[in-house]
């Protein structure tokens, strides 16, 4: 079907994925390099009966989507570095109150205003620990438009399944790159709809009492069940509590509901990994260069493979350990000072064999950047 084929930016692929997943409400604030997501949705949402609002700031955007989600909508916001920092308090609120939402962070160089129009992958740890206090989070990423589309669908599905904010970590290079996207037919990718309570009028509904499978059915604001939502620790009614047992159980629940499902959440791709002696671990636009180098060196008989991570948090420790087990060396290819590197070192049996191939100057890391380091590690000189 030719009208299912697009030649668009990565940011637009994200928009198409969100629409496919059923996004109904977006609130945002202009910021480079994510603005195209807001621009595109300001047109596409009302065309489909959905709502778009440009709020007065990043904080307001994050809060507005949480409010809209509680009324039963699938919601999203998009931002970049400074905006992602501003949203952190409200992201923590969504963690605590277990309100599904998707936050896209198209990464640019930081800290502070940094390098707004250039690529970086410096927000990996912020995605995990940007908001205060113990909590858990899901963060996903992708390196090409087809994958951005499907990982965006996953982001909405995970938000609904686990009742959590999901962070989608794109980066400037992949967000602004134009390439082909084939939009899947309806039904081709699974869509998770909101789990709503089956309890009827007059029956006590406990908004924060997990079912046996750990899931919490929701009730839309405006519906028959009136309940309280608060960022304070709360009991099964949603009412504030500082009872030590309530606090302990809620915090463990927030962490466990994601950790216990790491296998269902883990997303990755492998490229030539079967017999690889050298393994590149990479993600996002950096993975494109890693894959390109692996391909060209394979053609010359070098056994190089790539483990491309598409879920960063919860970090797929077991997967990384297994895939890197037989490697002579592991190169983590990323555009920061080693944020995923630290996770990989902690995951593998021989952390001394893990090296960082990075670039942090706002330029996309190239295959030859990686090759130079690889040759040193291989003992072949530069």
């Amino acid at each position: 079907m030719s009208d299912n084929i697009r030649f668009i930016q990565g940011n637009e692929a994200c928009v198409e994925g969100a629409l496919y997943a059923g996004v109904e409400f977006f609130a945002g604030y202009p910021i480079t390099p994510s603005t195209e997501i807001a621009e595109r949705l300001s047109q596409r949402l009302p065309e489909n009966g959905g709502k778009f609002i440009q709020m007065e700031d990043e904080i307001a955007s994050m809060c507005a989507i949480i409010g809209a989600s509680l009324t039963g909508r699938k919601v999203m916001t998009a931002t970049s570095g400074p905006g992602f920092s501003l949203k952190q308090e409200a992201i923590g609120y969504a963690c605590m109150t277990e309100i599904p939402c998707v936050i896209v962070n198209v990464m640019r160089g930081g800290p502070s205003t940094g390098n707004p129009t250039h690529v970086s992958q410096g927000d990996i740890n912020q995605a995990r620990w940007g908001t205060h206090g113990d909590h858990n989070i899901i963060a996903l990423t992708a390196s090409n438009h087809q994958d951005i589309f499907s990982i965006t669908v996953d982001a909405f599905n995970f938000a609904e399944t686990y009742r959590t904010p999901v962070i989608l970590l794109l980066d400037e290079a992949v967000g602004h790159l134009r390439e082909k996207l084939i939009i899947p037919e309806a039904g081709e990718l699974p869509i998770v709809d909101r789990l709503r309570t089956s309890l009827g009028k007059g029956v006590d509904y406990h908004p924060y009492l997990p079912r046996e499978d750990g899931r919490l059915p929701m009730s839309d604001f405006g519906g028959e069940h009136r309940y309280n939502v608060t960022g304070l620790f709360h009991d099964m009614w949603g009412f504030p509590s500082n009872n030590p047992k309530v606090v302990n159980e809620l915090l463990r629940h927030l962490v466990d509901k994601i950790d216990n499902n790491i296998e269902s959440i883990t997303r990755y791709k492998e490229h030539f990994l079967d017999d690889a002696e050298y393994v590149f671990v990479s993600y996002g636009s950096a993975a494109r260069s890693a894959i390109h180098l692996a391909k060209t060196r394979r053609a010359r008989g070098e056994k190089i493979g790539v483990l491309e991570l598409q879920s960063i948090w919860p970090f797929p420790k077991e997967l990384v350990r297994e895939k890197c087990a037989d490697a002579k060396a592991v190169l983590v290819v990323e555009m920061n000072m080693g944020q995923v590197l630290a996770q990989v070192k902690a995951a593998v049996r021989k952390p001394g064999r893990v090296f960082l191939a990075n670039r942090i100057d706002g330029k996309l890391i190239t295959p030859s950047d990686i090759k130079k380091l690889l040759r040193v590690i291989q003992g072949r000189g530069v």
Partner: protein, 268 residues
């Protein structure tokens, strides 16, 4: 329905200090909702952080107790998503106009159909008595041991300038009058602001020698006068009470519905 039917009795006793004006404001608000005979399922209350914000836990509506200063932004998400819902947003003075000041003026500018209730006791009560942007100069507070030098906002003038289409002021002393204004505000289509002067005997009254709750209530009476009254004309230093603005202007959600109609037609 009885007033009690609008309260979550199992969550009482409330956490407000003896003599606090906030309970009286809750009373005024519940009576307004009762007299309007609103369906509880169609009311969403969002609040921020502070003594005032705890009001949302005590009412039997859909209630969203959020972040300091951000109540109006959550409310905006709720309202735009489901415009048929009545959205009530009680806020403290610091909550609404210090940390939440930007959201306050922008909600007014959009004229989104939300009722903002500023419960103004001129102090940060929950954190123990720091001055707020409504304290004004010459006030003693734990962060102003040598008296404040900060000027205050006039909530009414600010709301007017920002574009609110219904603006009123009353006090905890004038509880019945406040109920009347709240009823009008709730039924007004557009962004409505009702400032209700409250008293904090614990943290404001003691430090500023305004006495106990009763004498502070008395001040609500003696320091204010109705708009257009002889008392106000004779003594312009009194704080005016009444309805300052009640006008029609296109409401945000209704305007957005027109955008949807147009966009859907164009896309076909």
């Amino acid at each position: 329905m009885a007033v009690k039917d609008y309260l979550r009795e199992r969550f009482f006793p409330h956490m407000w200090c003896p003599g606090c004006g906030h309970g009286t404001i809750l009373n005024s608000l519940i009576r307004a909702v009762e007299e309007l005979d609103l369906n509880k399922n169609e009311i969403v209350m969002t609040s921020g952080i502070g003594c005032s914000a705890r009001i949302s836990g005590y009412v039997d509506f859909h209630s969203l107790h959020t972040l300091h200063g951000r109540a109006l932004t959550f409310a905006t998400g709720v309202k735009l998503s489901r415009p048929h819902l009545k959205v009530l947003v009680p806020m403290g003075d610091g909550d609404a106009l210090a940390i939440g000041g930007n959201h306050f003026i922008h909600a007014a500018r959009r004229n989104i159909d939300i009722t903002a209730i500023v419960m103004n006791n001129r102090i940060y009560g929950m954190t123990g008595g720091q001055f707020s942007p409504l304290s004004g100069p010459g006030v003693k507070a734990t962060t102003a041991p040598f008296l404040t030098i900060d000027s205050s906002f006039d909530v009414v003038e600010l709301a007017k300038a920002a574009g609110a289409t219904f603006v009123a002021r009353s006090t905890a002393y004038h509880a019945k009058e406040a109920t009347g204004y709240l009823k009008k505000a709730i039924m007004h289509k557009g962004f409505s602001v009702v400032e209700i002067l409250s008293q904090c005997p614990t943290h404001y009254g003691r430090k500023n020698k305004e006495g106990d709750a009763v004498s502070m209530l008395e001040l609500h009476k003696t320091n204010t006068a109705p708009l257009g009254s002889k008392a106000l004309k004779e003594n312009p230093s009194l704080t005016p009470r009444g309805i300052f603005v009640d006008v029609e202007r296109p409401e945000y959600c209704s305007e957005y519905d027109k955008i949807i109609d147009y966009a859907m037609k164009e896309a076909r």
